[in-house]
Amino acid sequence: MEAHDNCQVNYEELPQILVLEPPPIMIFYGDQFLKNFRLLKAWESQLPLDQFLTIHAQSVQALLSPGRYLLTTDILQLLPSLQLVVTTSAGLDHINLPECRRRGISIANANDTYSADVADMAVGLLIDVFRKMSSADSFVRKGLWPTKGDFPLGSKLGGKRVGIVGLGSIGQEVAKRLHAFGCRISYSSRNKKPYVSYPFYPSVVQLAKDCDVLIVCCGLTQQTHHMINKDVMLALGKEGVVINVGRGPIIKEEELVQCLVQGELGGAGLDVFENEPNVPGELFTLDKVVLSPHRAVHTAETLMAMCELVKANFEAFFSNKPLPSPIVLNN
C-alpha cells in the first residue's frame, strides 16, 4: 500500500506495525524508512507491556522485532491478530518458533543480508588473533616500538586447518574467504551439505581434534547451546583459536575463560558473549584475545540494506504478495 503524493492519506488508515523495542536500524537511522506505516511504539508508553498490548494491540497484524528482544508465548498471547513477525536479525533464537508455527504466524528475517559483513568480521578477528594486530597497534600507540624493540612474532594463516561450525550462508562466505588465504577448510553442521567439497564432521569435538581454528557461524538453538565446551577446546589444543560470530551462549564462556587463562587454548576472537554487554574481566588481561562489541553487522551499507528489506517485507505482506525473506519453519 503506497501513500500517494497527490492526496492526503489519513494516518489512521495506514497499516499498523507494532514495535516493542527499536531495532539497531531504527536507533541509527530513525523510522523514516517505515513512513508508509503507522508505528505502534510500545517502549514509548508508560503502561506496563501487557496492559499496553491489551489496550492498543488487539488488531495488530504485523510486528517488527529486533534481534535481542525475546518474543515469548506471554507476549504472543496478547496479540490475537498477529500474522507476521519481521525480525531485523538473521538469528531466530529470540522468537518462540513452535508457538508461531502453531498460530500460523509468518516470519521474515534478514536472510543473507548480513552474511558478508559477518564473514568479514570473522576473518578480520582471525587475522587479528593470528597476527596480533590489535595488540601491536596498542604497542605502537604506547610508544613502545622505539624502546622495547621488536614486537613478538605471530602465526601464519596459510595452511592452517579451519573448522567452520555451521555451514549456512555465513559459514559459506567465511569458507570462501579463508580458502583464498590457503586455509584448509572443513566443517560441522546439522546435516552434511550435498554440493560442498569440504570434509564434513558429524561432531564438533571430532572437528576440533583435526583443526587449528574453529569459527562459530551457526545459530543458537537448544542443540547448540554451550556446544563449544571444555572438551571441544581441549581437543582444539594449546595452539587452537576460537572465533565466535554466532551467539555468546554457543560457547560455555566460563570454560573458555578458564582454558584461555590456563593456556589450554591459544587464542580467541569474540564478537558475542553470554551476558552482553558484560565481558569476563579475565579476558582483558590477555593479549591473545580480540574483543568486539556485538557489531558484526553494524556497517552503514548493510543496515541501510536492512531498512529496505524490512520495508519490502511489510509492503509485501500488506499487499498480499510473497514475502521477500520468509523463514520456513521446520518441524
Binding site: P24, I27, D120, G124, D128, D137, K156, G182
Partner: protein
Amino acid sequence: MESIGVLMLCPMSAYLEQELQSRFNLFKLWTVPQKPQFLKEHASSIRAVVGNAAAGADAELISALPKLEIVSSYSVGVDKIDLDKCREKGIRVTYTPDVLTEDVADLAIGLILAVLRRLCASDRYVRSGAWKKGDFRLTTKFTGKTVGIIGLGRIGMAVAKRAEAFNCPISYYSRRAKPDIQYTYYPSVVELASNCDILVVACPLNEETWHIINRGVIDALGPKGVLINIGRGPHVDEPELVSALVEGRLGGAGLDVYEKEPEIPEELFGLENVVLLPHVGSGTVETRTAMADLVIGNLEAHFLNKPLLTPLV
C-alpha cells in the same frame, strides 16, 4: 666454513644468529663499540654481509669490505642495498622472495579490515568498559569495495587473490599493463586512486617509486578512501599523509611501514581511522624461520660453489 667472516648488520632473528654463529665466524655490527676500528681490524676476513629491511650493504660499507663476495638479505625488499655497486664489483645478492608473500598479503587484508571495521579501536572500546555505556558506532563494509593495487608482483597478486574472495573489483597500476591479467589497469597512480576505495602499496622501493603516494594521490583517494602501506615507508610522503588524516581529507590508513622506523608521527596516535603496526608484514614464526633458512642456504651454497637459491644479483 668456521673461518669465513660474516657480518650481521643489526639484530633480526635469534634463530638466524645462532645458525650463522654455528657455521661461520659471525660478527655482530651492533655490538661493536667503534665501527671504524672494528672495520680496520676485521674487514679483510669478512666475505659476507647479512642485512634486512632496516639495514643493508650501502656503498660506504661495500667500499669498506674489500673481500665481500655476497650480501644475503633477510628480506624481500632490497632498497637498502646498493645493487649497482654490487653488480659493478661482482658481489652476489640474495633475498627472501616467495616465503613471505602470503604473510604480507594476509596482513594487507587484515589492515583493510582493521581500518574499515575498526577492529583495533573496538577492541580498545570493550577493554575500557565503554560497551556498558553504549554501542560502538557504525563502520564501513569491506565486501564489494574496489581495491587498487600499486605493483602487481608476487605480493600484489596475492593481495588481489584474497580481495577477490571478498567480491572486490580489482584495479592496479604498474609500469606496464600486464597482458594476461583481467584486472583493470590504470596508467597512473592518481587515476588508480581516483577510481578505487582502498589503495594498497605493494611495489618495490626505488628512485621511481619514492614518494609515489604524494599529495595528488592522497587528494584523489579522498575523504572516504583508505591507504594501506605494506611496502616501504618512503613510498609515502609521510607529512602529507599525516596532515591529510588529521584534517579528514583522507578516510583512513593502515600502515606497517614508516619513513623513519621505529619513529612514527605522534599525531597518528590519536586517530581512530588509522591502524599502526610495527613492520610485522613477514612477522610469523613460520615465515621468519623460512627466511632465515633461505639466508643460510644461500650463504652455504655460495661458499660451497653451488647455485644460489634465491639470487637477485
